[in-house]
């Protein structure tokens, strides 16, 4: 590692000027800039532009949960965290790894976009809106929608806001082992049986021959595709109501602050 860094300094040295040594800061800035380009291609889709978080956690924090030091950050980028939905996007050279680490660390030094909301008021709002009828937090609540006990550790603030203002555009993908492999979770489906009965619910799992569904009453159905009249996958919709227009900006901030504070999976 050390040798690679020295070699690069030497290249820069020759390339830029034969007289003055290159200040370390300039080299760092170039590294960060290159890391940013790599980040945009590989990471921004889940971690958000500038690491502000999206479907994946925000990275613009001084301390990263699974990457306390540069070596562990390097390992996370190099190997992914497959059981948590983070893939190894591609193989990287040591140089590229250093660039990405430099960029992600630089995000932690920028002012963290802390939500301006009040988590306490957000908690009250959560209770008042009846969110617990469909979501479990630390063991309590209904189980139709995703569990939220650690949602703040796994999602960025913008994604959390989107999830209640426009849930149809924020259905999670590939964050759970089932159905896995990037499939949309909680996808609304409409099934018409051969005797004309309609089942509305969300997809749990699917293969070419069958589908597993929970209806809006949270009752499980197993469907063989050849045995029903129609199956409609309702992309662009969500079983969760949208709260757009029902919350003030300040209330939305409070709710985001509360959801962001949920970081303790049981």
């Amino acid at each position: 590692m050390k040798r690679i860094r020295l070699a690069r300094v030497a290249v820069l040295f020759v390339g830029l000027s034969a007289a003055a040594p290159v200040p370390a800061r300039a080299q760092d800035a170039a590294e960060v800039e290159q890391g940013k380009k790599l980040f945009q291609g590989m990471c921004a889709r889940c971690h958000g532009i500038d690491g502000t978080g999206d479907e994946g956690p925000n990275l613009n924090r001084p301390t990263l949960t699974r990457a306390g030091d540069d070596d562990s950050l390097r390992a996370v980028i190099r190997d992914g965290i497959p059981d948590r939905g983070m893939p190894r996007v591609r193989r990287l050279t040591d140089n590229e790894l250093n660039q990405l680490v430099a960029y992600v660390r630089s995000l932690g030094r920028t002012t963290s976009v802390a939500t301006s909301g009040n988590a306490g008021r957000g908690r009250e709002l959560y209770a008042r809106l009846g969110c617990a009828s469909c979501h479990i937090i630390t063991g309590a609540g209904g189980s139709f929608g995703p569990e939220l006990s650690a949602i703040g550790a796994n999602r960025g603030a913008a994604y959390l806001r989107q999830s209640f203002l426009g849930p149809a555009e924020a259905l999670p993908r590939g964050s759970s082992p089932v159905p896995g492999r990037g499939f949309t979770e909680y996808l609304p489906v409409r099934i018409v049986t051969k005797d004309g009965r309609e089942i509305r619910g969300v997809r749990i799992n699917e293969d070419p021959f069958t589908m597993q569904v929970r209806d809006l009453g949270n009752t499980f159905h197993s469907v063989r595709k050849s045995d029903v009249k129609a199956i409609e996958k309702e992309f662009g919709r969500s079983a969760m109501p949208s709260f757009r227009g029902r919350l003030s900006d300040a209330e939305s901030d409070d709710l985001v602050a509360f959801l962001s504070s949920l970081r303790s999976g049981m």
């Binding site: 790599l38 492999r181 293969d207």
Partner: protein, 528 residues
């Protein structure tokens, strides 16, 4: 006493006599109860002329036995069946012989794989053995070719094909010809210089080596800039086909190295992403056809070359067809390598058609970039290592097609022996945005006759049978049978884990069976 001596006399020649000579493999269609070579015959049809399991009765198919592998890992094996014994491989490079009637093991052999083995480019898998005379042959992830006694699993010989420390390794089933064993190497992702080797089946002595990347001065070397040929890739990592009458071996070659950054290797990069026709006697390349010149998307052309004869424009031709990873289905004259036709069999966005010689007209702006460039097909291709099937009965070429795109990423490429030399990668579009299909193509034209849609891009092979069936599997674990004429699903069963293997069929005691690996198990099905 005399009777016993007579018995010994009659037994000795029998055991010294070649059990599976190459003549048996060359005439595989005469004994459909056995499955003597990777793709069922030298033409790589993966077709069974057994017809006991039919459209009418396939709905009653039941498991006959299930074998679970000893060590977890992806099971990609395609079994060999000979005279009541099935030979399979288990991850990473273990060979096991099973009683075909019961699935009970007869022996198992695991080579010592060094803990620092270098496997860059695929998971540590194995796709099957070859059988010839009294031995079975396996290529290993540490780069060895090993001959085992078929009766006991004892090692007859063990040779290092090349240095694993430089990234050479093997996952493919070898191909057994008369007196020789052919094997190609993996390792382009570590910047190897690819080759196809032939070894004396009795001794393990290397008979010839045919490099897939020419050295300076050799024909094709002008298609490489500077020293880039030294790390030029062109792995020969899957099993080829053979035409005994022409004495030609047909072998697909892989991507150039580094995969996604072609800056340091200007030119077409022969013979990467090509089909090479190699003289089986001396290893000389008789002709080549390059599907993807100067590939920058990792579209290896190692897919199975399928040999068949048919009339084209009223003229009988000896043909070779490949459903290439780049999403085109190609038909070539296998005597000369002449390009005859190509047509897309899956979505592609990289070429605006091909010229009269089969060279693609590249669409601009489809190269990998630091930000990511969305291109179809995806990084694993419209096809990959899983086998197609050709039915002489329907004259259809069955292919499991992958409908998927990738954001192709360009990165740095610095060569260091035994390390990844890839220069980028990709971020795949998957989940509900990707899908797949089993497609039946008219073999001479590539025109689609029918398709059966799959939820997910498949990584599994197909088998067609004289019972009018096509067997296949899914990522979700379904094993199924389709009507070979119409694609209608006739039977399916959930096997509990993704199917990433090729099916085969065999017979024993007058009954037909179908075998497929799924998850950590090998399943064998028959009628009750």
């Amino acid at each position: 006493m005399i009777a016993r001596i007579l018995l010994i006399i009659t037994l000795v020649p029998a055991s010294a006599f070649s059990q599976v000579p190459a003549e048996r493999i060359a005439a595989a269609e005469k004994e459909p109860s056995n499955w003597l070579t990777y793709s069922g015959n030298y033409q790589s049809h993966r077709y069974s002329s057994l017809s006991q399991i039919t459209r009418e009765n396939v709905g009653r198919l039941k498991p006959a036995w299930i074998y679970q592998v000893r060590r977890t890992g992806i099971v990609e094996t395609s079994p060999i069946v000979a005279d009541g014994v099935m030979y399979i491989t288990e991850p990473p490079s273990t060979v096991t012989a099973l009683d075909v009637r019961t699935g009970r093991p007869l022996w198992t052999y695991s080579p010592v794989i060094p803990p620092d083995v270098i496997i860059i480019g695929s998971p540590p898998v194995n796709r099957g053995v070859a059988m010839l005379d009294q031995s079975v042959f396996v290529g290993t992830v540490h780069g060895h070719l090993i001959a085992l006694d078929a009766k006991s699993g004892a090692v007859r010989w063990d040779v290092a094909v090349d240095e694993n420390k430089r990234g050479y390794y093997m996952t493919a089933a070898p191909l057994a010809l008369n007196g020789k064993i052919l094997i190609g190497v993996s390792g382009a992702e570590a910047g190897i210089r690819g080759f196809l080797d032939a070894y004396d089946a009795a001794t393990g002595k290397r008979l010839w080596r045919s490099y897939t990347v020419p050295a300076p001065g050799e024909p094709g070397s002008e298609t490489w800039g500077g020293d880039s040929w030294k790390t030029g890739g062109g792995s020969a990592w899957l099993t080829g086909s053979y035409d005994p009458a022409l004495n030609l071996v047909y072998w697909g070659t892989g991507n150039p190295g580094p995969d996604w950054n072609g800056d340091a290797r200007p030119g077409d990069n022969l013979y990467t992403c090509s089909l090479i026709a190699v003289n089986a006697t001396d290893g000389k390349i008789k002709w080549h056809f390059q599907f993807t010149p100067h590939d920058v998307h990792d579209w290896d052309s190692n897919e199975i070359p399928v040999l068949f004869d048919a009339a084209i424009d009223g003229r009988p031709r000896k043909l070779v067809a490949m459903a290439n990873r780049n999403a085109f289905y190609y038909v070539l004259d296998r005597e000369t390598g002449e390009f005859l036709t190509a047509t897309p069999y899956a979505k592609q966005t990289w070429a605006d058609g091909l010229d009269a010689k089969g060279r693609p007209h590249l669409r601009p702006g489809m190269e990998p970039s630091v930000e990511g460039t969305l291109v179809f097909p995806n990084i694993q291709g419209a096809s990959n290592w899983p086998s197609p099937s050709y039915s002489p009965q329907t004259k259809l070429f069955y292919q499991a097609a992958r409908e998927m795109g990738t954001y192709y990423l360009k990165g740095e490429a610095k060569y260091k022996a035994g390390e990844a030399f890839t220069g980028g990668g990709g971020r795949a579009i998957n989940g509900d945005d990707a899908w797949g299909a089993v497609r039946a193509l008219e073999a001479t034209s590539g025109k689609m006759k029918w398709e059966f849609k799959l939820l997910t891009p498949p990584m599994m092979g197909l088998l067609s049978t004289a019972g009018g069936l096509v067997f296949g599997g899914t990522e979700e674990g379904n094993f199924f049978a389709l009507d070979a004429d119409t694609g209608q699903p006739l039977w399916d069963l959930q096997l509990g884990a993704a199917i990433k293997a090729n099916p085969i069929s065999f017979g024993v005691d007058g009954k037909q069976y179908v075998a497929i690996a799924a998850g950590y198990s090998l399943y064998v099905f028959g009628l009750p």
